[in-house]
């Protein structure tokens, strides 16, 4: 069985975008309107940071959130209600971005029939190993002008 979210079943609304938009508006921005689909060519990330959660069990998959360090720091400051230029520690950044991946992953898991258990989030500067044929879905987003990419993967 694969980690298959039937995007077409949502009649024109993208459930991944809907979930991400709810997470950002409720937890990070406090208002709607700062997260939108990325316009133009697919973004190339520099100074990357990745956060992911896996679903393990009858259905196996990964929800991977990829962005750039400055964006991750900005997300962390927003989540912790910090000042705009306040320094962000590595532990807080990992905790914050991991929790965003966890909430997005938890909500996506709810769309899957008979899912397994969600793993604890992992965060790394290195992109976790995945094979291109296991990519289920990719959504490039624009959060306050900077790229943020959510991808769904099948896991063996």
């Amino acid at each position: 069985m694969t980690f298959d979210v039937d995007i077409d079943a949502f009649q024109g609304t993208d459930p991944v975008y809907t979930i991400a938009e709810e997470v950002f508006s409720a937890m990070i921005d406090g208002e709607v309107g700062h997260l939108r689909a990325w316009a133009g060519p697919e973004p190339t990330l520099t100074d990357e940071v990745h956060a992911w959660v896996d679903v393990r069990g009858p259905v196996q998959g990964r929800v991977l959130l990829s962005t750039e360090q400055p964006t991750a720091r900005r997300i962390t400051r927003a989540l912790l209600a910090m000042e705009p230029e306040e320094p962000v520690g590595d532990a807080d950044l990992a905790d914050a971005l991991g929790e965003v991946a966890n909430v997005v992953g938890g909500n996506l898991k709810a769309l899957v029939t008979d899912p397994g258990a969600l793993t604890l989030p992992e965060v790394s500067h290195d992109r976790p190993e995945t094979t291109p044929e296991d990519l289920i879905y990719a959504l490039s987003l624009d959060w306050r002008g900077r790229p943020l990419v959510i991808t769904l993967w099948n896991l063996p």
């Binding site: 997470v23 937890m27 807080d92 914050a96 938890g106 909500n107 709810a110 258990a117 604890l120």
Partner: protein, 123 residues
Amino acid sequence: MVAVRVLVADDSRVMRQIVIRTLRQAGYDWWDISEAQDGRAAFEAVTADPPDLVLSDWNMPEMTGMELLESMRASGLDTPFAFVTSEGSPEMRAQAEAAGALFLIAKPFTADVFRETIDPYLE
């Protein structure tokens, strides 16, 4: 007004801060809130000095929220308990209710959701 003593259990410090901030925004700024970094730490805290309410994440290292609830009940601790978790599927809500949780608030949440969910239990 007598303070309600609440224990917030979540392995994410960021999420504990968000839960506490949202409780304040929801109007519960008179609550006395303490924190635990996982289920085991929460169990030790509840055993030592039972609060009025435990708000717990589900998926935590050491001891999950469900294991915490089951351990509390097995130890005769009937402290009111609720989940604040990233997974709010009907199956998990049913599991939470069957185990004796008062309610389950799914992340992401707003202060309005906290108020609408918690207020009925304060009357």
